[in-house]
Subunit: 188 residues, 2 copies
DNA sequence: TCCTTAATTGACTGATCAATCAAGAACAGG
DNA sequence: CCTGTTCTTGATTGATCAGTCAATTAAGGA
């Protein structure tokens, strides 16, 4: 079976399996064995490619943040400011970012950032970038872009948090609408 | 040493120790031994009084939510609607609820609610009560109390989340101000 | 005094898991 | 065909911990 070039495929499978297992379990207490099994390989191989369980988590987290960043970039093609802000909000609640398992994994990685400095650094990069994107778009629209950006960021995080904890299935559209309504009020 | 009546004292000490250890560790991965040590007793005694580690966590979580509820009740003495909304917001960011360790413990209990149905139930009760309090206060002030209550709740959670993850020390006053500014916009 | 009951712990058990290692299997290049 | 490299796993180790239990201490009541 050793077709050369397995490494990137195996790594991707492990990252994908990690997000699903963490999301499904709702906890970082998933064993390397579980992850490896879902990814279709032995636990030893997972260690072979990533070195440690922490590294597996970190790469999974990086993947989530990168995916999010990519969807923001895709939506940021528009020219006028309002569209750009709306684009960021839309990306936040796009279905691939707002699936229950993804958000559940996301929450657990937030908790991980309390203990793991690498995770914290990743998260800070993501926050800074989101903030910067929002600021650029907001500056022409309001006299207090900093405050609106801060509020928008917190609101998005809060809506995420509540969505994953509510009993109802996650509804990206109404979540998006809530944030957009705030935006209209703030810019009125 | 068996002075009768140790139970409530021991339990309180364990709950307090749990919040501090979880907050300090930034994770629910604290051992019963750690908690018991901080509380000044043996791990066996902790099991004797609470039965299981899960029960220890659950009681600690209940304590945090109750403390929060108490501070809301204290602030809710006012008569006019606006003061009542402000009171809830103020209580949310009062120092005893907004200490780094408390918020850190809070975040981890949120994550716990993803797996533990008892924890989820506790959280739902808290959300429902907060929402109900906000609704009563908001109804005379706006034509869309549901939406404002939902946004306020999410915003508070989001601000909490960000406060514990930022490198800077947590600042309850500016957090409170951010939420109050939203309130003014929403009611304008 | 003696007996019951609460308080308390040290020692132990059983289970779980991350990480390691040595060895096997299959391909590519010479 | 060898030979080295990549891929892969079963078996094992070493450590950690939740939870149990039997035994000890001391108070309070009869």
């Amino acid at each position: 079976m050793p077709k050369i070039g397995a490494e990137p495929i195996r790594k991707a499978a492990l990252i994908n399996a990690t997000i699903h297992e963490v999301g499904k379990a709702g906890s970082l207490d998933v064993t390397v064995a579980q992850i490896a099994k879902r990814a279709g390989m032995s636990p030893a191989l997972a260690h072979h490619y990533f070195g440690s369980k922490d590294q597996i988590f970190l790469h999974a987290m990086r993947f989530i943040l990168k995916t999010f960043g990519d969807s923001v970039r895709d939506e940021l093609k528009s020219n006028d400011s309002r569209s750009r802000v709306v684009a960021i909000i839309t990306a936040s609640f796009a279905s691939q970012n707002f699936q229950r398992e993804t958000v559940s994994a996301w929450l657990n990685f937030y908790a991980l950032a309390l203990t793991n400095t690498d995770a914290a650094r990743l998260l800070r990069v993501y926050h800074r970038r989101l903030r910067s994107n929002l600021l650029v778009a907001l500056r022409p629209m309001t006299s207090r872009p900093d405050q609106v950006a801060e509020t928008l960021g917190a609101l998005i995080d809060g809506v995420y948090l509540r969505s994953v904890l509510s009993a109802r299935p996650t509804d990206g559209d109404s979540a998006r609408q809530l944030v957009l309504d705030y935006l209209d009020e703030a810019l009125a």
